[in-house]
Each structure stands twice: as C-alpha cells, then as structure tokens.
C-alpha cells in the first residue's frame, strides 16, 4: 500500500495520512512546508503564531536567555543551543524524579 503512495498510483486518505504523519512525529504543516520547498512554489509559510513561541506561558527566547545568562554569570559558559541531532526524537513522556 505504501509503495502505491510513493509511486503516485494512489493517494492516501486524510485519515491514513494522519496516521503516517503520527508515525513520523510530524504535523500536517510540516508536510505542507516540505511540499512547498520540493515543488518550489515559493509561497511563504504562515508566520508562527505568538503562542508557538511561548513555553508554559513565557517567551521561549527570554526563557533561554535567563538560563544562559545565569550560567555565564557564574563562569559556566553555556554551550550552543541543541543541535538537530539532539532534538527530541520521540513523543514526549512523563518523567519521574530521577
């Protein structure tokens, strides 16, 4: 079935597409963005909403700045922001107190 989607013989239903994206840990917007890039439509993606840049109600950049500055103040220079390779690879889970 998957090969028929790859070769373009069939197109998946929205429900199947959602399942595939779920398995890939991606969202529909990610797929749309990738299609735009591949097909060279050059359309601008919608600007990220303010809520996307908030972490638990705080601006993401501000939060990172607070943590980085305190490390620098104590002489513990922060390393660069997480590289792609260390970005989360799996669905977030609850964590206990180790």
């Amino acid at each position: 079935m998957l090969s028929s989607y790859v070769t373009g013989r069939e197109t998946p239903t929205l429900k199947t597409l959602e399942k595939l994206l779920d398995g890939l840990k991606l969202r529909l917007e990610d797929l749309a963005g990738a299609l735009d890039e591949v097909q060279g439509h050059g359309r601008q993606r919608p600007a990220r909403s303010i809520s996307e840049d908030l972490v638990l109600g705080f601006p993401r950049q501000e939060v990172e700045k607070v943590f980085a500055e305190q490390l620098a103040r104590l002489g513990l220079e922060p390393k660069r922001k997480a590289e792609e390779s260390t970005a989360p690879q799996a669905k977030p889970r609850k964590a206990g107190k180790a």
């Binding site: 638990l56 305190q70 490390l71 922060p78 922001k81 690879q89 799996a90 609850k94 964590a95 180790a98």
Partner: protein, 320 residues
Amino acid sequence: MYLDEEEVVLNLLRVAFSDRYRNAKALLAGSSLALEMVIARSSTEPVAFELEGYCRAHVGNARRILGQLREARQELNTAQSLLERGNSRPSFLAELYRFQASLEETVRDFDAAEEALKKAEQLYAVLGDTEGIAACCVKRAIVFIYSDRPQEAFVTILGAVQSIESEDLLRSAYETAIRALVDAGETYLAMSVFEMSRSLFAGGGDLFQLKVLWLEGQATGRPCLLAEARNQYSERGMIYEAALISLEEAAIAVREGERWEARALLDVAGPVLAALGIVKDSLAAMLLNLDVTRREELERAEAILLGVLKEARLHRVPNV
C-alpha cells in the same frame, strides 16, 4: 563553648555538607563528630543548645540521604526543639526547616514539606538571604514535580534562577527545570537547556551524572540512553530506579509495537514493583495477548504502563 571551637564545629559541618552528594556516609561521620564535640562541652549556654541543634539537624539530614528515615526524623525533631528554644541563630533554624522539607518530600508528605518550606522562607526573608529563599524555591519545585504540577515547578525555578550563586544549587535548579519541561511536553526547550548546562552538570557527583543520563534519555526518548542508565543503576544495586526505567522503556516499546521487547523489560521490572506493592498482576502477562496491529490495544497497554509508572514514582524511595 569558645568562639574558635564553635568555628571548628561549623567548619566541620560545612566541609562534610559540601560533599553530601558524593559521600553521604562522610556527611554523617562529619556531622556526628561535630555533634560529639558540642555535647562534650556540656555547656548550658543558649548558644550551645543552638549549636547542638544545628549539628543534630545535619546528622538527621545525613541519615535522610542514607535512607535511615526513622532515625532522621528523630534527630530533626530533637534539633527543632533545641533550635526553637533560642533565637540568636535564625539561619540555623531556617536550614533545619529545609532539611525537614526534604524529609517530608522523601516520604511524599507534600503538605508537610510545603509547611516546612514556608517557615524556612519566612526566616530567610527576615535575614534578607536571597540564596536561602532560592533554595526553598528549588525544593518547592521538586515537590511540584512529584505532585504532577510541572508548570508550577518550572515557573518556580524560573523565578529563582537569578538569585542563585552556588553551583550545587544551580545544578539542582537546572535539572529540576529540565525535568519540569519534559513532564510538560516541552522537550525541545528541555534539550536546549540541557545542552547549555552540560558544563554545569559535569561538576556533579557520580550519582548526579547517572540521574542526568536518565533525564537525557527521558528528554530525547532514546532507548539506548535509558538502557545504559538502567544498567548502571542495576550495577549499583539501585533496583527501584532500574525498575522505573524498565517501565519507561516498556512504554516506549509498546508504543512502537515491540511487544516482545516490552515483555522482556517487564519481566525484570515486574517482580521489583510487585515486591514494593505497586503492582499485583503480572504486567508482562497483560502484553501476552496484545494484538500489536490494533492501535487501540497498544494505546490501552501504554496507558496502563504509564499509570503504573506514575504510581511507582510516588512510591516512597526505599533505603539506599
């Protein structure tokens, strides 16, 4: 007791306490020695009572870290009665309340922990000790995490971070912040803070490094990190932690349809959890007839495992 002798006692406590995360037995030995020195003076001066109370507070805290919870409570109660008799050393009393909060957190009595933290904070506020207040905030955030309130935990840490001067406290604060972010599902920022904190974390003791390895496994969802952390805990005989990690790995395996791997992990974790009274039925047996092609069954199994995991985390940490 003369001032120089008091300095010796306080220095002894300071040195022993600074190594608490690496060597809890040394903390107990150092605190006990300090206590013996104070008792040997047989002074009836109020200052001597307070010094004895402060030593007992440290002895109690050391026993708490070593898992001797009953003895820890006895020492802390005696320390409280001694320290509350005087009023010349409010900083001693504040530290005692923090130790009491740690004990209550260990036995999962969150209300009592909060009560003790409030008393400590009031004293630190009078003293103008912002670092002391920050230490209370970090402890409170840990209590929030255990109470399944990651957002409040994160906000609490965020408000305290800029007042922290000690590297030890900062390490604990950042580790707690990352844990709160992981619990809240903010794994990208969790990893961002994690990456910038590597130098800070590198200064922690062996057990802290192990804790960080586990945390990284949770944040990234990489089973190899979790497996490594589990193996290291097992090698140290810390079976409770190893069982918790097995449960986390099993939940990932179920989510990915790896039924047999999940069963193998639960075969190891199950007996430990059963011995602690956390589970009655065999979790591995639950997976025996699981139809991995049916998404609903996988989701149900994962939900059961996460429920057990939540209960297991709240279980009192056994003696270590």
